[in-house]
Subunit: 181 residues, 2 copies
Amino acid sequence: MTPLIQSFVAHFGEMGSRWGINRTVGQIYALIFVSPRPLCADEIADALSYSRSNVSMGLKELQSWRLVKLRHIAGDRREYFEAPSDAWEIFRTLAEERRRREMEPTLSMLRSALLEVPTNDEDRVAQERMRGMHELIEMMSNWFDDIQRLDAQTLARLMRMGARVQKLLELTGQLKSGSKE
Amino acid sequence: MTPLIQSFVAHFGEMGSRWGINRTVGQIYALIFVSPRPLCADEIADALSYSRSNVSMGLKELQSWRLVKLRHIAGDRREYFEAPSDAWEIFRTLAEERRRREMEPTLSMLRSALLEVPTNDEDRVAQERMRGMHELIEMMSNWFDDIQRLDAQTLARLMRMGARVQKLLELTGQLKSGSKE
DNA sequence: ATGAATTTTCAGTAATTACTGAAACTTTGA
DNA sequence: TCAAAGTTTCAGTAATTACTGAAAATTCAT
């Protein structure tokens, strides 16, 4: 590993642990991401000085997040791993997977909590707060879903617009006032 | 704690660990969030059966995330803690703090990596990928910053629009074609 | 200043999570 | 069907992180 790659990999190892992801997994992904060609498990274990089995676990985790693609090379039985070279695509996958793992369980917990009939003031207030949270998370979840379908270019345009989108909304609000939104 | 609140608190304890946040901190915040009035450390320790010192640590962490507000009650020396009752506000704080803790260090690492002059093909490719990632993260970081300034209502409108925003962009793209955007 | 009420720190311990090496399993070519 | 190449599982151990209780520090009324 060159020093450039080494520092990139190290950074993602540390960052990883601020997420749910562990150091090994972060480093493996960083390495695959910057590699010009797919890597096999042994190469990864070698480069990072981790045991073969640890790398195997890490790759399985990355697969469960759908962040790596498998490749096969003719005449070679080993599996090779590759990341999308487009950071947008990675981000999209990550967002979708987080929605599924973090938002959905919370939404279903909140939904069932909101079905309960509160029998005291404490529960009444609690439910009120939960309702607000449910509303927010549901909205964001749907929004993620919509965003998912935009192509990178449109999304980039939307982001570059930033706060100016507000102006646009005000404008269309006027144009469409009276219609369904 | 009522069963309703208990299940909410338990859920956030478990969810917390999928984030960087630990179980205790997640539970403390959940409890504060649904409480109709500010709580003091002893009440929290009591409700969750954690040691007073553990709760103290947890509250400190929540303060470092700026997720709790301190309140004082006349004639009572203890500090009371409260969460914004508006989930939007919480989300905004969280997003800002994550940007600061996760995006900024990564951006600065990437920036310095991109300043290096690559001396071989491996580094050249790696830098190319890093450039893509830098572009994406920087764009998102700026966008978060912009979003920050929108009021909840506008943001909600934007989200409810979802993918339809694409149509809007196409429209304005036509209107403005030739101008600076 | 004194001391009671409260909060924080910290060293030690418990619990959890990460990692390894060996063994089991799978796949494929001869 | 066998054996070689490759991958996964898993029990045990290492490393990390969470938690506690006791002691120290802080705050504030007198």
